[in-house]
Amino acid sequence: MALSPEARAIEAVLIVAVEPVPAGLLAELLELPVELIDPICDELAESCRLEGRGFGVVRIAGGFRIQTSPDLAPYVERFANVGVSSRLSAAALETLAIVAYKQPVSRAQISALRGVNVDGVVRLLEHRGYIAAVGRAAGPGQAVLYATTDAFLERLGLDRIEQLPPVEDLLPGPEALVELEEQMRPAGDG
């Protein structure tokens, strides 16, 4: 089934884009109300799935982009030589998680939570573009505050930061809590 003229136009734009393109910009280019963009992109994504194309249209970091189908990763990796080298360590991932959930947050706050100096890890994450300095704390010392970037969303395949599960959901369950507490409690209480 042939694509609609609007879907073709969006596809062409996404082919030349180097970053996710916001729906608002697509609407502007096509001179259409922005509400119509979502359904058109859905049509596009659906046609890619149906015809088994080598790529898909996804919504990421607040915009739409074209990316290769996950099952073709072996070919793409071999070609583009992407992947493994950029794995993050557990320490870096945990620091990244803290920034993601507590942003904006200072290095000292992260350190206090992790119990270790995090300067190196923060520098690494900043250098890789996952986080960026977004301002300074009001208090004394005016600590630099960090937040996650659009690149972070892109690399995690997220559209918005709100898509991350609420941190409450990640807390250990009540049993684990009781257990941990009992172990720590000096039962003599009383």
Binding site: D71, L88, E94, A108, G141, L171, L180, Q183, G188
Partner: protein, 260 residues
């Protein structure tokens, strides 16, 4: 699951010991903490894999015991005993909260790893515009000044070692603490107050900075400077003590030498 300790008055799990101390069935005064630690270290040696849970539990228990004991040993702490439990509780609650929070972030980190892995299986197209496309875009550099280009360069290279203008030239094969002491006693009385970063900002090699630090410690030990660090990982404030002697009272060889 916690470590088993052995002391003259009690044999058993460390957490039970803490319970007994807290319920006044065992006097902390009679418990040699060294033997508690020894017992734990001995047990630790027997582990095939390190169980971080048990390890951190033990540290909590040990630190509470140390605190209780130090209170018991210090004079005039009788009235504090009433609050002992409360204080212990507060600390444990805070620690518990932090541990839980960290567990949540560790779980989030696992989720991130999964997302990263999934996302990495799809690669975005970044080829950009076909080169044969005619672009009538306005000048992208409009409004950009040379200063902004320079600023952008500095931003882009901020992570690299900053090229330093070597106003102050020390080329040495061996850096000595005594040299650094001499130098600092030449600078500090006039400057009054400085931060460690200011004092070492012009230095390019790590060893020079370390030697400078050792020199400051030496001066501090001699009571000629005071050192103050406002917050963890904060910059070290150095202040010259009024009236301290500026002459280097010690001959060469008193301080260690470091190969650069």
């Amino acid at each position: 699951m916690t470590a088993t300790v052995s002391t003259p008055v009690f044999d058993g799990p460390a957490d039970v010991l803490l319970q007994l101390v807290n319920s006044h069935q065992v006097d902390i005064f009679d418990v040699p903490l060294a033997s508690v630690v020894d017992a734990f270290v001995a047990e630790l040696a027997g582990w095939e894999i390190v169980d971080l849970q048990t390890l951190s539990e033990f540290l909590v228990i040990a630190s509470v015991l140390i605190e209780l004991k130090s209170r018991r040993l210090l004079p005039g702490s009788g009235d504090v005993e009433q609050d002992e439990e409360l204080v212990g509780w507060e600390e444990r609650d805070l620690l518990l909260a932090r541990l839980l929070e960290c567990q949540a972030y560790a779980a989030a980190a696992d989720g991130f790893a999964l997302l990263l892995e999934q996302a990495a299986r799809s690669v975005p197209r970044t080829a950009g515009l076909d080169l044969d496309f005619v672009v009538h875009a306005p000048d992208l550099l409009e409004g950009v000044t040379p200063d902004q280009v320079a600023a952008a360069f500095l931003r882009a290279t901020a992570e690299r070692p900053v090229p330093t203008v070597d106003l102050y030239h020390v080329t040495v094969d061996t850096v000595t603490v005594s040299d650094a002491v001499t130098e600092l006693t030449g600078i500090l009385p006039g400057a009054g107050r400085a931060t460690f970063r200011q004092l070492t900002g012009h230095l390019t090699s790590r060893i020079e900075i370390i030697v400078r630090f050792l020199a400051l410690l030496e001066l501090c030990k001699q009571g000629r400077v005071s050192l103050d660090q406002g917050h963890t990982f904060g910059d070290l404030e150095v202040a010259w003590m009024e009236g301290a002697p500026t002459a280097v009272a010690v001959g060469a060889g008193t301080f260690d030498e470091y190969e650069g």
